[in-house]
Symmetry: D3
Subunit: 126 residues, 6 copies
């Protein structure tokens, strides 16, 4: 194992996704613990740790892509929260999702907005 | 016709997509001229003209989404050029495309990078 | 704002989607009210109001596309009801969904049929 | 082999797709001749031969779905020609493709329109 | 009707999908009974009955595809169970799903693993 | 850098994809050399090097997924060749692609078969 990547990835995952990210890792332990490790090492240890694009832009890019693809609602939820965690405003998140209507249609944009609504409500309640 | 949206959209389309955008509009005239007008009015007159997200972030979000969807290479090309037109660095564009390997797989990320390579080569030649 | 498009779109949305459409608009008010307006103006005010294709054909085309894409179940539900509202028979809807097995596979066709079954049951109960 | 389905499917394939359909069947002979037979039997012998939806509506539904999915340009081309063969007007085809901008985004609608433009040009030249 | 294909398909469906497959057929009876018949005849009577690829490889291929597409969770569930029914080990299934992270991204792989976790838990409980 | 993963991945990439894989790595050097390294390390060093699934099954799973997704023709080509390199028969490859008609529709299966036809022709010519 490459300890550096793992340690760096784990810190980055917690910085971006917080408790929701830790829950994903935990839920993999009894089905595919190696995948939990790979998820920490490659996306977070390798990609998110790179310079050249700040975390706010990275999270908005993920929100854009997952909204447009429309086939991964749980991960969109984690990353809308992640976008908030790294400092994106509600307005920025809503604007990115709305913009996806142009590139992937109104249905996926609507579904993205309803996920954002759920996350923002949880924030207001907390 | 809502002249304000059209005028605002046309200016925005030229600001972002430049000559490539004008070529798309021109190429629609003999098949669906109304769609050319709608393309100017809704994406550019309505969406890109909104406050709350700057054009650099908007273009990186589009590059992310079109890379991830992997089914619209001509438009990805236009928007990688568009990202350059509004001030995104080559590094930012490359980072966003690389990041899509995490969310939509290595094949679409590779194909996105090869489109970027083509655009950057044209810049170097110009 | 272009009042004509909004008024025309709102009437068209109610004609096609009925209460389900109004519910979507209402549910957007606290997250993205501008998107509610754009949804009325562009899809309904601009596109559905165009001549050249009657509403029955338009709704069957949407049912075909949303079934095939398989990533927008709530909107497929609204538009199967919409197809009924504008005069499509149950048989026409079922035939379009079945045909999608050829173009997008049996899983999305099955999932489309189960959405139709739910809508038709609600009709029978009403 | 079920001769009825094959004979019925072959006639239906020629009615809808004409020479382009026959070319597809021919091009499969040296790689997967059984798939050529299955393609005649299931889509054309089983599905297109069903009552309850006329061929014009069936072809517009396919044009809608293939435009929206955006990952099968050769088949979209065959079916835009097929739509013409069974009596769809150019306007109907253009309207269906334009409508897909609402459900699957402007890029796939643009690419669909450019395929239609190519088919209509070939008609004009013939 | 081609009785041979139907009888052969029905036996194959029960061999692969077991009770879950029979439930799908049953649930179609009041909405599209013809589709139930076509589902037995084409996928199971025509395709799964072919020589040249054993059922274990066929089921792993389906698990791969449905994981990657990410838009048909109920069918992925049926086929993970189907893979188990025809002799695939849990490890083989988990490896195929993990591998899809490379080709279609981590979100669809995660969602596939959680479906597998559910199926394996039901086995343990049974 | 984790030299073990890189060395192991590079050997695995050459074993599976041969010259076509090396060409992909080479073509990335002037646009995203880090992505070339990540492509060697994660898919090939981490995933393909895992026990529990032999390379033949892994390559057939990739052929299934890329055929079904239908949005990455260059990579499908590389992996049909890869499947041949690790010992899959032409018949196995054709069967997997044909089977995708059931799960993702006839158009993507047809396009996959035509890619296989091209690869098999090159083999025959070599």
């Amino acid at each position: 194992m490459n300890d550096d990547r793992y340690v760096r990835g784990w810190a980055k995952l917690k910085e971006i996704d917080g408790q929701a990210g830790e829950n994903v890792i935990e839920s993999l332990q009894d089905i595919a613990p190696d995948f939990a490790r790979l998820l920490i090492e490659f996306p977070f240890g390798d990609i998110y740790s790179r310079p050249g694009l700040d975390l706010k832009m990275r999270e908005l890019a993920v929100v854009a892509a997952l909204t447009a693809m429309g086939n991964a609602a749980p991960q969109l939820k984690v990353h809308i929260q992640g976008a908030r965690n790294v400092g994106c405003s509600r307005q920025e998140i809503v604007e990115v999702i709305m913009q996806m209507a142009v590139y992937a249609g109104f249905p996926v944009a609507l579904n993205g907005l309803f996920v954002a609504k759920e996350i923002f409500s949880q924030e207001a309640a907390a």
